[in-house]
């Protein structure tokens, strides 16, 4: 160390192994050998080794890298930890991820930014289920190079036969995954054999040490499969004469004068300037953060992708993708999530869950939903066309995350396999007669009055009164009652969460057709989930959707119990009954809340009609 490192490159790698394979020991050893431990850290290590250590009398390198207090006490690595060290040749970022199956999401997180996967196995145990899992996840996230560390060689007498058996076993298994390179090295992390120096104990091994490998592996070769991409993060308008588009270049170099297309809208222009604070550039390389100006005044905003005009890029509203579910809350097909793809945010839903992949056996498993750590292949639909491409061609425009619309949690990470072009080929029937024309003919503004509330709150009673009153006023209204719809259109649906989502989706779609016909639609359905009502609202134009909370406490509803349903639910005869063993999420900001304890059904109907008339 001590040499000029400013122009050195950076390698990011991931370490994976099962508990006790010696992953933490290996990283601690790398840091130790890179002389990165300062005196106070070494002293702390010695003190900690006494207090928490598992190596009697010795230094427990694992303690260097197990960060959080809780983890230290439990002796397991839960979260991804990032470590840094530098040798004379390279700077390194180590993403240290836990190996249990229940931490698949953490490993995927660590793998997403890694160039190389360092996979540990215990020489005594050989290739285990978890090794296969780690390999598969590394492959799924597009890692091209694998270093297989066969650890604890000191415990098998540094035996060449043991090493070769493990290595061959591994090579046979990974053949289907097509990594760019696979290198196997026999090591003892604890003793430092073949870590930063060649081991005297294993003269039969002639390959690189771990550090030799990490210092020399070439990871950039062959990444340029497509043309330049610049996802626009920020539009820079410091003064009237400058309109720049800031972002990080991906996939291939972008050069001055290059012809480009703005996706997804398809505008065409040229790169007029590549500006940075250090001066203008003629060429910007992948990974570089720049601001470009364009030759023509085309429309460009955050989330658009400026691409090399010579290359092909799909825009699509449907893709097939691999998903890794990251939330404790299960995925529900049809439910809307926010998607973030490069700098674009849009709405997305899983339109077809094809199968789950068993991460241990790689078998395909049929599934209706996805839970934390599940890996699956599915079709995903977007509410608009997005510029995207296969993940294997470009990580920056092929990777995405799904965000829960209520909790804002990161619900899933995904990688696009390819776009499904069906939606593009299907041109919609152009109708000269439109909603506006039909509504004018009826002399009203179409709308949806969406009644939500517990069973027995009074939704149907009030809805019926509203329908009658509107009719008398000469309005054209139609009522969609949740119970009635379940007898016909939705008679195939039950009451699981997934079925409830589908129930509401169908009602919302039917309501939308009626609104399109110019009608006022009164929907009366428990519709317990906030996100589903938001989905329905999202189908309508602004000002068309009125969420009306028919509010009565569970105790009141249960005491009314007009159909005796609560009693049966309490006795366990009815399962998944809202309010009893299935949740009701009250609206946060309904257009109107009716407190049925305080007003009569008739007065409530008048309030609702008032609300509607004010908007007409």
């Amino acid at each position: 160390m001590g040499e000029e490192t400013t122009s050195m490159d950076l390698l990011q790698f991931l370490t994976c192994g099962s508990v006790d394979d010696g992953k933490s020991t290996l990283i601690g050893r790398l840091l130790h050998d890179a002389k990165l431990l300062s005196e106070d850290q070494a002293a702390a290590l010695q003190a900690d080794s006494k207090r928490f250590g598992t190596v009697p009398g010795g230094l427990d390198f694992a303690l260097l890298v197990d960060g959080l207090e809780a983890e230290r006490e439990q002796g397991i690595t839960i979260d991804v930890a990032y470590r840094y060290f530098t040798t004379a040749k390279r700077s390194f970022i180590v993403a240290d991820s836990p190996g249990h199956e229940q931490y698949t999401r953490n490993m995927a997180t660590a793998a997403s930014t890694a160039d190389v996967a360092v996979i540990l196995v215990d020489a005594r145990q050989g290739i285990l289920t978890q090794t296969r899992r780690h390999c598969f996840i590394a492959h799924l996230l597009g890692i091209r190079h694998v270093l297989l560390c066969v650890n604890k060689m000191d415990l098998v007498d540094y035996d060449q036969v043991v090493f070769e058996a493990v290595r061959d076993d591994y090579l046979a298994f990974q053949a289907t995954l097509e990594f760019g390179s696979v290198t196997a090295v026999p090591v003892s992390a604890l003793r430092g054999d073949n870590i930063s120096r060649k081991s005297d104990e294993m003269p039969w091994y002639t390959g690189p040490s771990v550090i030799d490998f990490l210092e020399s592996v070439q990871v950039n070769a062959g990444i340029c499969r497509i043309g330049a991409r610049l996802p626009v993060q920020w539009v820079s308008r410091p003064h009237a004469d400058f309109r720049g588009f800031a972002g990080t270049v991906a996939a291939a170099p972008l050069s001055l004068g290059q012809a480009v297309v703005i996706e997804p809208d398809g505008g065409q222009t040229r790169i007029a300037g590549i500006s940075t604070a250090d001066g203008d550039l003629d060429i910007a390389y992948p990974g570089q953060a720049v601001t470009v100006t364009l030759a023509d005044a085309v429309d460009v905003g955050r989330g658009d992708v400026i691409r090399d005009a010579e290359s092909v890029m799909q825009t699509s509203d449907q893709v097939q993708a691999h998903l890794i579910w990251m939330s404790a809350e299960a995925m529900i097909p049809g439910r809307q999530y926010r998607i973030k793809l490069a700098a674009r945010t849009a709405q997305a839903w899983i339109s077809d869950l094809k199968y789950k992949i068993n991460v241990n056996t790689l078998e395909h498993v049929a599934a209706k939903t996805l839970e934390l750590n599940d890996v699956a292949v599915c079709n995903l639909s977007f509410d608009r066309r997005l510029a995207c491409e296969p993940y294997r061609d470009c990580r920056e425009t092929g990777a995405f995350i799904l965000i829960d619309k209520i909790t804002n949690e990161t619900a899933a990470a995904g990688m696009i396999d390819f776009s499904l072009r069906r939606a593009r080929n299907l041109t919609r029937q152009r109708l000269s007669l439109n909603k506006q024309v039909r509504a004018t003919a009826l002399g009203q503004k179409p709308a949806i009055l969406w009644f939500t509330g517990l069973s027995g709150a009074g939704k149907s009673t009030i809805a019926n009164i509203v329908a009658r009153k509107l009719h008398l006023m000469g309005r054209h209204a139609y009522m969609l009652d949740g119970d009635n719809v379940r007898h016909g259109l939705n008679r195939d649906l039950g009451f699981t969460d997934a079925a409830r989502v589908e129930n509401i989706r169908r009602i919302a779609e039917v309501a939308r057709l009626f609104v399109d016909a110019g009608l006022i639609v009164i929907v009366s359905a428990i519709s317990p989930f906030r996100s589903d009502r938001e989905m329905a609202r999202g189908l309508m134009e602004a000002g068309e959707f009125f969420e009306i909370h028919i509010d009565a406490s569970l105790a009141i509803c249960e005491s009314r119990d007009p159909k005796g349903l609560y009693a049966r639910a309490r006795q366990g005869e009815i399962k998944n009954f809202t309010g009893i063993d299935s949740p009701y999420e009250p609206p946060a900001q309904p257009e109107l809340r009716i407190d049925t304890d305080a007003v009569s059904a008739d007065a409530a109907a008048d309030q609702i009609i008032d609300l509607l008339e004010r908007s007409q």
């Binding site: 950076l10 470590r83 840094y84 920020w234 820079s236 800031a246 500006s275 390389y285 990161t410």
Partner: protein, 300 residues
């Protein structure tokens, strides 16, 4: 293919993060603590929005016990760059009169730094505070996210952190919640100094060795920066060639003996350093996981 060097990659990544913050949040602020990391952060913010100015103000939480050189440097930088600076002092806290000279300074830090920061963020309705913390600074930070989610009480819950993949940052929050963004997450102390050298970034002169009045207390060298410092029996003020590896409240920041007068000297010294930079921060010493505790309570 031209591969970017280490510092170029780090620089681009930080700029990318700063742009995501500016585009995704309504009222971000850049936490400007005047130290070397803040200096780099500010430099990167200037670059990220060039030829424009960063679209967010700087915020300095002033404990009233910062080195005088720091305040002078702060005011000069802000003037030169033409930026907006918010200085926040916890006025009610000041009245309580906790001094960093009393009992390890813990109370002072709680009131004038942790509390004051929460106050300032509340007052300015900040939804994202950009900070210069690095993951290599301390063990519990190794698992910190780039976009670190905080609940409505500014608390950091290690279990509620969102997975962060690729460079796709989830910036969605509900009202009252906030995010701490750390664009320098992947930088090391050495990267910071090398970048300061390569880019010629101004830093507070206290980082460079020079003769300064110091007192040796509990094995640490404390600089006497003003008349509020009281000597304990047996202590005496001496002039020594010292510098600082990190800057904070002067009675809580230990100096090291050093002859490093240029950035190159500092880099050479850092490379052979036998103590980590945080050792200069006296508040970290209390117990094994003190930093993690501080974070849960809302300290940066």
């Amino acid at each position: 293919m031209n591969a970017l060097g280490n510092l170029q990659r780090l620089e681009s990544e930080s700029i990318h993060i700063l742009r995501e913050v500016a585009a995704s949040f309504e009222r971000p602020v850049l936490m400007y603590s005047i130290g070397k990391d803040s200096s780099v952060l500010l430099h990167l913010a200037m670059k990220a929005f060039h030829p424009g100015k960063p679209p967010f103000p700087l915020l300095h939480v002033d404990t009233t016990w910062k080195f005088r050189d720091m305040i002078a440097f702060r005011d000069q930088r802000v003037r030169e760059l033409g930026l907006d600076l918010i200085v926040h002092i916890n006025r009610e806290g000041l009245a309580l009169g906790h001094s960093p000279l009393d009992g390890g300074g813990g109370r002072h830090t709680d009131v004038m730094k942790t509390e004051a920061l929460k106050q300032a963020l509340g007052l300015h309705k900040t939804d994202c505070a950009i900070g210069g913390a690095r993951r290599d600074e301390e063990k519990s930070r190794a698992k910190e996210r780039v976009m670190s989610f905080r609940d409505a009480h500014h608390a950091w819950n290690p279990r509620a952190q969102r997975p962060e993949l690729w460079s796709l940052y989830n910036c969605r929050i509900n009202p009252g919640e906030s995010v701490r963004a750390f664009p320098l997450s992947n930088w090391t102390e050495l990267d910071v100094w090398r970048y300061i050298r390569d880019q010629d970034i101004p830093v507070v002169p206290l980082y460079f060795a020079g003769p300064r009045p110091v007192v040796e207390r509990d094995g640490q060298l404390i600089m006497v920066d003003d008349a509020r410092f009281t000597l304990r029996p047996g202590e005496e003020i001496r002039e020594e060639n010292v510098r600082f590896r990190t800057l904070g409240c002067y009675p809580l920041t230990a100096a090291i003996r050093s002859e490093a007068r240029t950035v190159d000297d500092i880099i050479a010294e850092t490379l052979s350093a036998r103590t980590s930079e945080r050792q200069g921060r006296i508040i970290d010493h209390d117990q094994t996981s003190s930093m993690e505790k501080k974070k849960r309570e809302g300290y940066f």
